[in-house]
Symmetry: C3
Subunit: 136 residues, 3 copies
Amino acid sequence: MLKEFTLKTDQEGLYNITARVGETVRESGVKDGIAVVWCPHTTGGITVNENADDSVRGDLLLGLDRAFPDRPEFRHAEGNSAAHLKSSCVGVNQTIIIEKGKLLLGTWQGIYFCEFDGPRQRKFFVKVMGGLKHES
Amino acid sequence: MLKEFTLKTDQEGLYNITARVGETVRESGVKDGIAVVWCPHTTGGITVNENADDSVRGDLLLGLDRAFPDRPEFRHAEGNSAAHLKSSCVGVNQTIIIEKGKLLLGTWQGIYFCEFDGPRQRKFFVKVMGGLKHES
Amino acid sequence: MLKEFTLKTDQEGLYNITARVGETVRESGVKDGIAVVWCPHTTGGITVNENADDSVRGDLLLGLDRAFPDRPEFRHAEGNSAAHLKSSCVGVNQTIIIEKGKLLLGTWQGIYFCEFDGPRQRKFFVKVMGGLKHES
């Protein structure tokens, strides 16, 4: 099963998409398998991190900005090479285990769409693969 | 097949879990497929890197620490935002190919659980998917 | 289906391997599933990023070099710890969704083999899993 989702982003941000990924797993009926979450953009990404304290998201964006700042030596004409770097650092996909029909996330884990070069209209995909019966 | 493992960590460290992932593949009987290794913690991760010279592990921790240091501007009250950053950088999962019943790792590759905010009692999961016969 | 590819690299570089991954998917006949791309080296990686403006690749290498420079404190005798760091940052594998027999990449996305410590003779693997009929 494959589903496509859209979201409208601000300049930068981490958007919690855990519920949408979880719903896709439920709809698919897959009990035992994997969910692949994919960002089809080169200045965005998908990451898994803290779902409780919202300030972590701001700290992640700040820390990435310091590690991968814009640089005068960059040659890409669009001027958003730092966003491309952050994308390759956090990655554009996550593969999450499905167990007993649910995402096997830790207590504090949420799935985030990362915007590094917004505001934009973005999309992401969720692919669910596996068995419809739990293998026990 | 899904297996859960536990480990006790120090303050920081890379822990070689290759043998445990390999055993899970053998136990599963899967000849041809994938193994998904998952860290359910937001201040840890899973990475694949050098299995021979132990000094690489220390260099990885040092280099990550310099790229993602603690910063006075961080707002997360727990004070471990740098560990969250390292987690999103190396990632919390790896998907490894299984060929002829074995992990398809390079000669120098090992699989590591990364602790960025210990000491703690941690766990990780290994999910094996695929066919029981080699497809040839 | 599993295929092994080789490539000859320069000192550093991002090599576009999208066509070879796409051909493997076509050859496999899989209509609906995933392709796992794996780099078996500890000083290389696999990333997904911009396929249009070549200058992005240079900017990515430059930005990674600044975030993960060589450091006098590094202890690894081979002297290539920075390359190991970049490998763990971008990762050695990508899992790409296959839909209707094709890689589900965004318009501007290409798949790259990353060389951080060449020139070398390198290889990478592509594993295709899934169904031969589209599930609709």
